[in-house]
Amino acid sequence: MQIVEQIEFHPQAFKVLLDILFTEGSFNILWTGVIIILLVSFVYPIEEDKWIFVIPAITIFAVSISPFIFSFAYEYLISRTTINRSLLQTVPLIIFVCCILSERFYKSK
């Protein structure tokens, strides 16, 4: 019940998130690179087990940004403090996955 009461949808959060990820520079070009690698891994055929690596990266990224879209934590998205720390927690695993996908893409060429 506590969770249901705290849910509130903030569609405007998507635009703010895009700004944070791609234009504000806290993570430089990291997220642009991640998106490119994930897209390439889907467009080009790499080994069949890519979902084994992609699922953790996508879920961990999704859960780290979801409070800012679906709860009162949207206000912290506006102030830019907590969102950068939340994204920071996910960075090592996402880089780990992207390096594996990049290598497999390179080998499959």
Binding site: L30, I52, I55, V91, P92, F96
Partner: protein, 222 residues
């Protein structure tokens, strides 16, 4: 980063008012206050915050025989180096040497990481635990060794005891990933049941006491 870690005291909000404050209260009182009516309950401020980052500092202070701010702050840097080593070593099974070096470079090049190496926040500790958990889950998928799964579950449980995000955000993510791996992994049904039981059991043994404690003392879970 090393210089900053040993010279600059905690200057960020949560680092001062929560993690270091709780640690100092516990260290100088030589115990954890368990009376909810006492203002120093669980080390004082923010009783709903888990204790692991503060206890980590207390542990370092106890080993050193005194509270030395600079050396205690150094733990974040040590965790960052451990995280880099973790990535570098575990990528060996999947990628070339060049890619392993590149991955470490990419992590360390994120400015926030170098700041958190001395900021005194708990995010870098949480990041380390969840990275260990997910990397070991991947490793379990390929090796099917249950001891790896137990360490992955223990790591996730430690993430729960490090920050509340571990419970409400990263535990569901780990369970989704583990469910998918269980669905895809080439194992017999009874082996899958055993693996799931081991994972849940380890989570309950390591993180259960903290969650039960919160429920018993009527502390919000997040």
């Amino acid at each position: 980063m090393f210089f900053n870690a040993i010279v600059i005291p905690p200057i960020f909000d949560d680092a001062i008012t929560c993690w270091s404050y709780k640690a100092k209260v516990i260290y100088f009182n030589k115990s954890i206050e368990m009376n909810p009516d006492n203002p120093l309950f669980l080390g004082g401020a923010y009783s709903l915050y888990p204790l692991a980052p503060s206890l980590f500092r207390v542990w370092i202070a106890l080993i050193m025989g005194g509270w030395h701010e600079g050396y205690i702050q150094l733990h974040s840097l040590i965790i960052l180096v451990s995280l880099l080593l973790l990535i570098f070593i575990n990528l060996k099974e999947y990628t070339s040497f060049f890619m392993r070096v590149l991955s470490c470079y990419l992590i360390i090049s994120v400015p926030l990481f170098s700041t958190h190496a001395y900021a005194g926040y708990a995010d870098i500790i949480l990041s380390c635990y969840i990275t260990i958990c997910f990397i070991l889950l991947m490793k379990w998928y390929f090796t099917k060794e249950n001891n790896i799964l137990i360490i992955a579950a223990a790591s996730m449980a430690m993430a729960i005891f490090t920050k509340n995000e571990g419970l409400v955000l990263y535990l569901p993510a780990a369970l989704i990933t583990f469910s998918y791996y269980c669905y895809k992994v080439a194992m017999k049904l009874d082996e899958k049941v055993k693996a799931v039981s081991l994972y849940i059991l380890t989570l309950c043994i390591v993180a259960g006491p903290w969650i039960v404690f919160k429920i018993v003392y009527n502390i919000p879970l997040w």
